[in-house]
């Protein structure tokens, strides 16, 4: 398998060995990873609850999305960077793991849904109705929750 031989090659590279040898690298990168997840979750929670009409209904949906969407993108960049470091450090734990690929598919799905349904709201004027808001809002929140569960389960499978 290509992925397996790539993983073995990666595992033997000096940078991968270094990450494993310095004991604080993996927990430090994982801590940054969790902090960035918190930024996504906080931003997504407020944005999606607003778009579901459950909080901040006195503020225009466009304003709320405009405030938080850039933070989701920034946090996603940090997550991709820290996640890549974690793959480099322990390729077998991730690349050979089905849960990891499920998580990647879900992240991609959440990214595409956010791009398709949330980014257009940046251009929305105050008073524009965002429809159909509720199903997509709850779907996006649910996908992020499953992503978190997958992330933790990677360590156990």
């Amino acid at each position: 398998m290509f992925i397996q031989s790539f993983g073995e090659w990666l595992y033997d590279t000096p940078i991968s060995t270094t990450f494993r040898d310095i004991t604080w690298v993996i927990p430090a990168v994982q801590s940054i990873h969790i902090l960035a997840i918190a930024v996504v979750i906080g931003s997504a929670l407020v944005s999606e609850l607003r778009l579901a009409g459950l909080i901040a209904t006195d503020e225009a949906p466009g304003n709320v999305v405009r405030r938080y969407l850039p933070w989701i993108w920034r946090a996603l960049i940090v997550l991709l960077a820290s996640g890549t470091l974690l793959i480099v450090a322990e390729p077998a734990r991730t690349l050979g793991n089905t849960i990891f690929w499920v998580k990647m598919a879900l992240v991609l799905g959440a990214f595409v849904l956010t791009l398709a349904f949330r980014r257009p709201l940046l251009a929305a004027q105050a008073g524009d109705a965002a429809t159909p808001a509720k199903p997509i809002a709850f779907l996006l929140l649910a996908v992020w929750v499953v992503v978190i569960f997958c992330g933790r389960f990677i360590a156990y499978t």
Partner: protein, 167 residues
């Protein structure tokens, strides 16, 4: 020693044994804990940044606090419940873990910081509700809260690497 006896009694509880014996129990509880923590930090981050002086989705700091704090509290309760379940599954190991002890101290300090904020700067919030940046006392509270919760998350991750009993 009585503390050791108590910790061992907690370890011997049926619920502790069942968490240890069911392979999926600990990962599920840990996932809930991570979800809860990201909700706590994610929501408190918005409030803390507003206190530091970063604009939020609304101008009024007081309304922002009242809007988001209920979510923070529910998530915090979930974090405590899931945290207690992880603790009981291996009480003696957690109690002896330095990172775990420091994490509890950091959570307590975050609580003290919040209590100080609510009894000082928040009492006068009507005076600075829409000010950006808010007065120094509020900014210090916001900054300390950010720092302490960051420390809590980092220490929490470190427990997973230093705990004597690993699943």
């Amino acid at each position: 020693m009585s503390l050791e006896t108590t910790l061992q009694q907690i370890y011997d509880l049926p619920i502790s044994a069942s968490i240890r014996e069911n392979v999926n129990a600990f990962p599920l509880i840990e996932s809930l804990h991570v979800l809860a923590i990201t909700l706590v930090f994610g929501t408190i981050l918005i409030v803390d940044l507003r206190l530091v002086g970063v604009a939020s989705h609304r101008r009024s700091a007081d309304r922002l606090i009242r809007e988001l704090l209920p979510y923070t509290w529910v998530a915090f309760a979930l974090a405590v419940i899931s945290g207690v379940l992880m603790f009981v599954s291996n009480a003696p190991a957690y109690a002896a873990n330095l990172e775990f002890q420091l994490k509890l101290v950091a959570i307590a300090l975050a609580g003290v910081n919040m209590a100080i904020f609510h009894s000082t700067a928040h009492r006068r919030i009507a005076d600075w509700d829409t000010d950006l940046p808010p007065p120094a006392a509020a900014r210090v509270s916001g900054f300390l809260s950010l720092a302490l919760w960051t420390v809590v998350i980092v220490l929490g991750r470190w427990i997973g690497f230093t705990l004597d009993v690993l699943f």
